[in-house]
């Protein structure tokens, strides 16, 4: 079973992991314009989401802005 560790939690993908970051965001129903991502600790600029290939077992962080002081 292929997995990704997304925001600290392991998520299983029975049909294989999405090929790119953009495909992952689509699958999770997340608007890519509102998030910023890290793959294995490396920040991915938004314009590079579609070229960022994902591999089994990678650690993905998806963060966004919220209210704060």
């Amino acid at each position: 079973m292929e997995v990704l560790k997304i925001n600290g939690k392991e998520k299983q993908f029975p049909d294989g992991i999405p090929k790119t970051l953009v495909e992952l965001l689509k699958l999770l129903d997340i608007n890519q314009a509102t998030v910023v991502a890290e793959v294995n600790g490396k920040i991915i600029e938004r314009q590079n989401f579609s070229q960022t290939q994902l591999r089994n077992g990678q650690k993905i962080e998806l963060v966004r802005f919220v209210g704060g002081g």
């Binding site: 998030v35 920040i43 600029e45 966004r64 919220v66 209210g67 704060g68 002081g69």
Partner: protein, 257 residues
């Protein structure tokens, strides 16, 4: 009232607004507008991949307001630097409110880690606005490290206690060559006016506005208080004396010699 200049950028408003704790994005947007602010802070958090997420940025017009991401949640310099880089990737701007608060009870900032993170971030071309305890020596060290402001606390975040650190704030203001933004603990417009009257360049307010029964009305109250306090400061403050000093002439009374 003179303009506030931070890192070469001019602002008409001396009130910075935090966006936490508002009941809705609509109330937040209205409060921001009524406050007259030009700088609003936001935080970075993990996306909840199981539930729908509000998009706070859609409620903030970035043509009107400078977005100032904070590093809240960072417990040390490394975490703060990581958050700073994520924020810059997300916004495309390099302004940052640096906060490193390892203590969850009082949320007091860690001076050692804050200075360490500031040095790294300034070298990486960030415009750094560090949240600090009201420590005049630390404020000087941060200024020397190249931060754009210092942001000493009035009292613990969200505590609404007002200017508990007054004596130290006065020393920081006296010595600083960068703008001093009094941040945290300002619970009432009078607290904000108080900070401005002692010569703070600006204040940052969040909880007192966001948790008011009518946040937009409170936002405007803070706007007026900040303006009043600054105008008083720029007018030259009167001296304090122990004894009375008559305002009316002491001659020509209607009585016999």
């Amino acid at each position: 009232m003179s303009k506030l200049i931070i890192a070469g950028r001019e602002f008409h408003s001396r009130l910075l607004i935090g966006t936490g704790k508002f009941a809705s994005c609509e109330l937040m947007a209205e409060a921001i507008e009524r406050s007259g602010t030009e700088i609003v802070t936001v935080a970075l958090r993990r996306v909840d991949i199981e539930n729908e997420n509000d998009d706070i940025l859609s409620a903030i017009d970035r043509n009107h307001y400078l977005l100032l991401p904070n590093t809240s949640g960072a417990r040390d310099a490394d975490e703060a630097v990581r958050l700073a880089k994520l924020a810059r990737a997300a916004t495309g701007i390099n302004w940052l409110k640096l906060e490193v608060t390892p203590d969850p009870y009082y949320l007091l900032p860690d001076p050692v880690e804050t200075l360490k993170a500031a040095e790294i971030l300034v070298k990486d071309n960030f415009v750094v606005l560090p949240y600090i305890n009201a420590d005049p020596i630390l404020a000087k060290k941060l200024e020397d490290a190249g931060t754009a402001t210092v942001m000493p606390l009035a009292s613990p975040i969200g505590s609404n206690q007002g200017l508990k650190t007054r004596a130290a704030l006065e020393i920081i203001i006296e010595q600083a060559n960068v703008p001093v933004v009094v941040d945290a603990g300002l619970g009432l417009p009078s607290h904000a006016a108080d900070a401005m009257e002692i010569g703070a360049d600006a204040v940052l307010v969040n909880t007192a506005i966001a948790t008011a029964a009518d946040p937009p009305e409170m936002a405007e109250a803070f706007k007026l208080a900040v303006e009043a306090g600054r105008m008083a400061f720029e007018s030259g403050m009167p001296s304090i004396s122990k004894r009375a000093s008559a305002s009316s002439p002491l001659t020509g009374f209607l009585r016999e010699t």
